[in-house]
């Protein structure tokens, strides 16, 4: 950006003012994150100060009335649901991306992308509604009660699939044409090109997409709340009803007071820490990927 320093003084004064104003707005927005963290810590302070963090992991269970706030069962449920969803969505998403990049007839590519974008834009509460009225009875007819970890995994998988697919497709598109042509010139089959050249080269981008999708699954509230049954217990099988951390906040926030409320804020803080960790990993992944491309 090249700017003349020889503006007339009144114009320059307007520029200085504008810089100051936009700069302070930008700072205020940046402070927002600090404010979020500060409020979460302050509001959960009541519980944190009394028993320390340890109380969330060694109490007898989640009994807010008697001051027992064990988050572990819900933490396990959250992790199980998210990982299960990723296990389904990752292969399906990558394969559908491979399809539109290497296999699809030309006329199918753009409608497919449109479908993925539509799926990505459907509100989570609508996924929840569909899960509740269609998926849960279906799972229930096979293995009652239906509101279960499995339903949560299915719904979450459907929700994060577009993220995985769209990021994988972008990563596959970024594979250098030279390597693809080289592979083709060596007489590799389409499978050889896809598995031996394209996917290895796009791996970092696919991984970043998977991390983003996991973040979305971990933070999802409504869809899981509506299909998982919300019984606080450590999941023992796929057909157990479970309650995840986010659902717990949404269910109990309306009436929680005192220490109970503080415990909910603490679980929000825990959630934010997990998601931030993943975001940091994704950022490193991306940076490593860019460095790798620079070397190549």
């Amino acid at each position: 950006m090249i700017w003349s320093r020889h503006n007339t003084s009144s114009l320059a004064r307007a520029d200085t003012a504008l810089t100051r104003v936009t700069g302070s707005i930008a700072l205020a927005v940046a402070v927002l994150l600090g404010l979020v963290l500060m409020l979460l810590i302050k509001e959960s302070g009541a519980v944190l100060a009394e028993g320390g963090w340890i109380r969330f992991f060694n109490s007898d269970g989640w009994y807010p009335q008697s001051g027992e706030y064990n988050l572990l069962p819900m933490l396990w449920a959250t992790l199980a649901a998210s990982l299960g969803a990723l296990l389904i969505a990752l292969p399906l998403g990558v394969m559908s991306a491979v399809f539109s990049r290497f296999y699809a007839p030309v006329w199918m590519v753009s409608p497919l992308r449109r479908i993925m974008m539509l799926l990505a834009g459907i509100p989570s509460v609508v996924y929840g509604l569909w899960g509740l009225t269609v998926l849960v009875p279906l799972v229930g007819s096979w293995m009652p009660p239906g509101s279960s970890l499995l339903s949560a995994i299915f719904i979450l998988a459907l929700m994060i699939l577009p993220t995985v697919s769209l990021t994988s497709e972008a990563a596959l598109t970024a594979v250098s044409p030279a390597s693809l042509q080289g592979a083709a010139a060596l007489g590799l089959s389409r499978k050889g090109i896809v598995l031996g050249v394209a996917i290895p080269e796009a791996r970092a981008g696919i991984m970043t997409g998977a991390l983003l999708a996991t973040m979305r699954a971990l933070g999802e509230t409504m869809a899981v709340l509506m299909v998982a049954g919300n019984v606080v217990q450590t999941p023992g099988s796929l057909f157990d009803s479970v309650r995840v951390l986010t659902a717990n906040i949404a269910l109990e926030m309306p009436y929680a007071t005192g220490d109970h409320r503080a415990a909910l804020f603490a679980s929000g803080l825990l959630l934010m820490m997990i998601v931030t960790l993943l975001a940091w990993l994704a950022g490193r992944q991306q940076a490593g990927d860019e460095r790798g491309h620079a070397h190549a």
């Binding site: 950006m1 936009t22 404010l35 559908s96 459907i122 609508v126 590799l188």
Partner: protein, 294 residues
């Protein structure tokens, strides 16, 4: 890469492996498309009967089983309006600062802090924004469960997305235009007003549309900020139920509310599809426009 490609199995196995992968890839895609059609079909099938002009304008009756979603649409739009009122100036200011002013004036440290903070904010789960909004707006600032609280909470959620799209739009304006403006003796401020912002307007609007889409889809952040009350809001400090919250309430808490839930879901999706089409066409126009002048 080359070493790997040389170690492939002999031709006969490779051919059958090829067929397996081809069919796997087709099946996976068919599965995804099938799920999509199933979902959409169910929504249309269950919700279509409920749709009518009266559904859009009438007040909910019998806790939503009958009547329409008139008051809920009004609350939704009011919440969105409040959110936009806060997002637009804050988002535009931040994006302008990041793309036009920050480059070498603050040594980069402040800029990096702002960017890091925005990236982290973009990843915060919506329910955590709900907690934050409840603590800050409803209780600390004494707004209670109100359209103000809900809208401002949504604004916090929309900001990162709106800022990043707006900044991208501004950065995409060719530098020649800035140089041209400078050569004409325009101040930075008037160049921004007369050249850069108009040039980036389609991209900014597209970003705005995406942010609105995100806000309309949001439920978890609104349940305990703007609340549940389904009557027509009388002022912005009244509690108002957003459309997404209505869908949640109809399906979870009201027996026999499923049909209304599906009808509301159809209305919500129609709004989202409309908004995203506008965003897509604006983005395309912006990209097309960029190729010609520079």
């Amino acid at each position: 890469m080359r070493k790997q490609s040389l170690s492939f199995p002999p031709v006969s196995i490779r051919l059958s492996g090829d067929m397996i992968l081809t069919s796997l890839v087709w099946v996976a895609t068919a599965l995804v498309v099938g799920m999509f059609l199933w979902l959409l079909g169910d929504l249309l099938f269950h919700g279509f009967n409920r749709l009518s002009l009266a559904f859009l304008t009438d007040a909910p009756q019998n806790s939503g089983r009958e009547g329409g979603i008139g008051s809920i649409l009004v609350s939704t739009l009011l919440i969105l309006g409040v959110a936009l009122l806060a997002t637009l100036p804050l988002g535009l200011g931040t994006a302008v600062y990041l793309s036009e002013f920050s480059a070498n004036k603050t040594g980069g440290k402040t800029t990096r802090l702002i960017r890091m903070s925005l990236n982290m904010l973009a990843g915060v789960p919506s329910i955590v924004f709900g907690l934050f909004g409840n603590a800050l707006f409803c209780i600390w600032l004494g707004m209670g469960f109100s359209i103000w609280s809900g809208g401002l909470t949504l604004a916090c959620m929309m900001l990162p997305l709106f800022i990043s799209t707006t900044e991208a739009g501004l950065s995409a304006v060719p530098d020649e235009w800035r140089q041209g403006a400078a050569a004409l003796g325009l101040s930075h401020a008037s160049a921004l007003w007369h050249v850069l912002l108009p040039a980036a307007a389609p991209a900014i609007t597209a970003g705005l549309m995406l942010s609105i889409g995100r806000a309309l889809a949001e439920t978890a952040a609104l349940i305990f900020t703007s609340g549940y009350v389904d009557r027509m809001p009388e002022s912005l400090s009244d509690s108002g139920r957003a459309l997404s919250v209505h869908i949640y309430d109809m399906s979870m808490n009201v027996t026999g509310g499923d049909e209304t839930a599906y009808g509301s879901a159809l209305v919500l999706i129609a709004m989202l599809v409309l908004i995203s089409s506008i965003a897509v066409s604006l983005t395309n126009r912006f990209l097309a426009q960029r190729i010609t002048p520079s």
